[in-house]
């Protein structure tokens, strides 16, 4: 599943299974595709207990068995450093699983074998799922599966995970899996083998019931404290745990005797695993096309070049916006006309049933109208933007953005991966905040989380697009220029990116001081995204998501608003009191009280802000339906809107507090009220500041 499509679907199911499988592999090898192909909808996503690392479990049946498939975070090695890798290592080595499916990228086998060899060394029952065979074929890489299987002594099944049929041999291999009886899969240099032998001699058999003695000796040599803790917890009696503590001390002594440090042992061990992987790879892979990765290299030469890199990024961004705006036009108009026809029918029905005014008011003018507004104006752009972004992500282009922008982020004492989380924020800020888990340094992760809301999410785009179109890009009355809108929108997004840098820099000089951490980024090969299935799956996903959210948020908000607008306390409605209260602040910012109220009431979901504003205006005057942008323009202008108002609305929409879902997510991810509060205050501060500046510029110079 792509990073943008973090579905929070929690299927309440009681999974029944009799065997458990762990799914392991490097990042970017298509593990998710294998997982999805095997489990389909019968999956449950969430977090690993006690950790902010996402997990996925699913069930499927094959033959006589029912399997629980547990996806683990992508990891390069079992010698874990980050939380992700620890979680993966702990489940693979110590978790309840009957076998491990090791997913390898056939186009990058050597590096993938590093993990595979370590898993085999741990004595696990495993099969290799040699994935992305279609890519390997395309690059004319030939793998001698039989030889590979012979050297690793386990089944190796070539697959192309998106083609479910290719997974059948994999499942057959799992069905018939036998114990891992390999004594020594990796032979270390003499001095290490001596150490292993000495340690094995002092290791009591009681400690080696679940794992091979050789492996435990190696882990004692690795001296990774979190692994040793897990090992200790996996032992059942206190007696055994004491034996382990003894063994640890004895290992220390042995190393002292030989005058070797843990570090140098680890270096040698790691190097040997890599060399073994290299050897096996050389014996089983042949390249028909020496320059098989030439096309990728050439593409990168252009996309990341000094001359074209940045312009191409801007261009792609504008293109994405252009397609969104243009593509959403027709469905939007069609939907709003259709939904208005239904509204008329509803009104007639209510009259026919002699329903009281307030009831038809609440249900039709409150709930239904807001709902239909959200669906017709907000849904089409969101349903188009997401698939396009997913395609971009699937194609492998996004890491290139991080690659090109890393230097700028480093200057703000942040991490280049923040570019990626920023991109995720374009889809949904809450998803962007969760995506910040890819940043390992806590300080840099906080920077990315707090500044994520500086880029407008999908929910804000429709309002931005509408207002840009009618106030800023209108070439002549009635003609709205789509390319111009796209360009102006790109301009605003560029501004929000610049502000992200500014905010990051400010934070890193004040509240979050520190030095940039270590950074490596893998640039995966370009892959052709499965355009058809991505678009279909994404459109349905997004549409369903938006519809659900409208029902949960927009409908009640519409009712709430109608109530506020129709209950009088003395002379004025409650709504009027509220909007009058915010009028001074609003005017100072070049907005008005209604707009500010709309932003406040729009806390649950950004897409209802403009509808609430429109509803507030119409409830205080003309009740004409808004079925076209022209009508919206007329309504807004007749309520005092000028170009400045629209401009400042856009600015404040981009720079204001995050929606409630994002705030809740920030609290969950950071565990702190302080940072959540700062995440709300900082963008708002920027917003107010920018609005005031723009008002000053407008009033005095234009």
């Amino acid at each position: 599943m792509g990073i943008l499509n973090m579905n929070f679907k929690k299927t309440k199911s009681s999974f029944e299974y009799n065997k458990t499988l762990a799914l392991a592999g490097n990042p970017n090898v298509g593990k998710s595709t294998v997982f999805n192909s095997l489990t389909g909808l019968k999956q449950h996503t969430g977090n690993w207990p006690g950790k902010t690392v996402s997990s996925a479990e699913g069930v499927f049946s094959f033959g006589k068995n029912s399997y629980l498939l547990v996806d683990t975070p992508g990891t390069y090695s079992l010698m874990a450093q980050s939380i992700d890798e620890e979680v993966a290592r702990n489940f693979i080595c110590f978790g309840k699983n009957d076998a491990v499916i090791i997913v390898c990228d056939a186009t990058c086998l050597q590096r993938n074998l590093n993990l595979a060899l370590q898993i085999l060394e741990a004595g696990k029952r495993a099969v290799i799922c040699l994935n992305l065979m279609d890519e390997a074929d395309r690059k004319r890489i030939k793998i001698n599966v039989k030889a590979l299987s012979g050297m690793l002594k386990i089944p190796v099944i070539p697959t192309t995970a998106k083609d479910k049929k290719s997974l059948i041999p994999l499942m057959k291999a799992i069905e018939n899996i036998s114990d891992n009886s390999i004594e020594t899969i990796i032979s270390y240099p003499a001095e290490i083998e001596t150490l292993i032998k000495e340690i094995s001699n002092i290791l009591p058999d009681k400690l080696c019931t679940k794992h091979p003695k050789r492996w435990i000796s190696l882990k004692l040599l690795e001296n990774n404290s979190s692994l040793l803790k897990e090992l200790k917890n996996s032992l059942e009696t206190a007696d055994e745990q004491n034996l382990l503590a003894e063994a640890i001390l004895k290992t220390e002594l042995i190393l002292k005797n030989h005058e070797i440090t843990y570090e140098s042992v680890n270096d040698t061990v790691t190097k040997q695993i890599l060399l073994t992987a290299e050897e096996i790879a050389e014996k089983s892979i042949s390249y028909d096309e020496k320059k098989y990765c030439e096309r990728d290299r050439k593409t990168d030469k252009v996309l990341c070049s000094r001359k074209f890199g940045y312009p191409i990024m801007l261009l792609l961004l504008s293109l994405v916006f252009y397609i969104t705006i243009w593509g959403a036009n027709y469905p939007s108009t069609a939907l709003s006309t259709f939904l208005f026809k239904i509204q008329v029918l509803l009104e007639k029905a209510f009259v026919f049933l002699h329903a009281p005014d307030w009831l038809s008011g609440i249900l039709i003018h409150g709930m239904y109208r807001t709902l239909s507004w959200v669906v017709s104006v907000m849904l089409p752009p969101m349903a188009i933007f997401f698939p396009i972004f997913t395609l971009l992500e699937d194609s492998g282009y996004l890491p290139r953005i991080a690659y090109c922008l890393d230097n700028s982020f480093k200057k703000c004492c942040a991490c280049g991966k923040q570019a990626l989380t920023m991109c995720m924020g374009f889809g949904c800020n809450a998803a962007g905040v969760i995506g910040c888990r890819i940043i390992t340094s806590p300080r840099e992760r906080l920077l990315a989380i707090i500044t994520n809301s500086f880029v407008p999410c999908n929910g804000r785009f429709p309002a931005l697009i509408s207002l840009i179109t009618i106030f800023l890009a209108s070439v002549s009355a009635g003609f709205f220029s789509v390319p111009l809108s796209a360009i102006i929108l790109t301009g605003f997004i560029f501004l929000s990116v610049v502000m992200t840098f500014a905010a990051t820099k400010i934070l890193s000089k004040t509240l979050l001081k520190g030095t940039p951490s270590s950074f490596t980024l893998e640039l995966p090969p370009y892959r052709k995204p499965q355009i058809g299935s991505v678009i279909v799956r994404s459109i349905f996903d997004r549409t369903w998501f938006v519809l659900k959210r409208s029902a949960l948020v927009a409908a009640p908000a519409g009712i709430f608003l109608w109530v506020l607008a129709n209950i009088r306390l003395g002379d004025l409605t409650i709504l009027k009191y509220i909007t009058l209260y915010f009028e001074p602040l609003g005017k100072m910012m070049g907005l008005d009280g209604v707009i500010l109220t709309a932003f406040i009431l729009g806390l649950p979901a950004n897409e209802i802000v403009l509808p609430i504003a429109v509803m507030s205006y119409t409830s205080q005057g003309v009740l004409s339906p808004i079925t076209s942008l022209t009508e919206m323009y007329n309504l807004l202008v007749s309520n005092g809107w000028t170009v400045l108002t629209a401009l400042n609305f856009i600015l404040f929409s981009i720079f204001h507090w995050p929606c409630s879902t994002t705030l809740i997510t920030i609290k969950k991810e950071t565990g702190s009220f302080k940072w959540t509060a700062i995440s709300a205050i900082l963008p708002t501060f920027f917003g107010i500041f920018l609005c005031i500046i723009s008002k000053i510029v407008f009033t005095f110079f234009l």
């Binding site: 990341c304 690659y403 480093k410 270590s518 490596t520 893998e522």
Partner: protein, 73 residues
């Protein structure tokens, strides 16, 4: 002493020693970079930093500050 950052796109060399410690060293080892590894510089980003290298079949971007501490021959 030659260091990795001195490689330009298209040039390659063998790594002799990694002078980094801690998590960065670990990360590089995990990615397959150790003494003896054959590395090819693939590209540099528009600002010149970081640069991308082919390490055992995968393309990895490494910053100048870190590649300065990787000795090559």
């Amino acid at each position: 002493m030659n260091t990795l950052n001195q490689l330009f796109p298209g040039e390659s060399a063998h790594v002799t020693k990694i002078l980094l410690n801690g998590s960065m060293r670990r990360r590089l080892l995990d990615l397959g970079l150790c003494s003896g590894t054959y590395v090819e510089c693939i590209s540099e980003s528009p600002s010149g930093n970081p640069k991308a290298y082919n390490i055992r079949g995968a393309v990895i971007a490494i910053r100048l500050e870190d590649s300065k501490k990787i000795l090559i021959s």
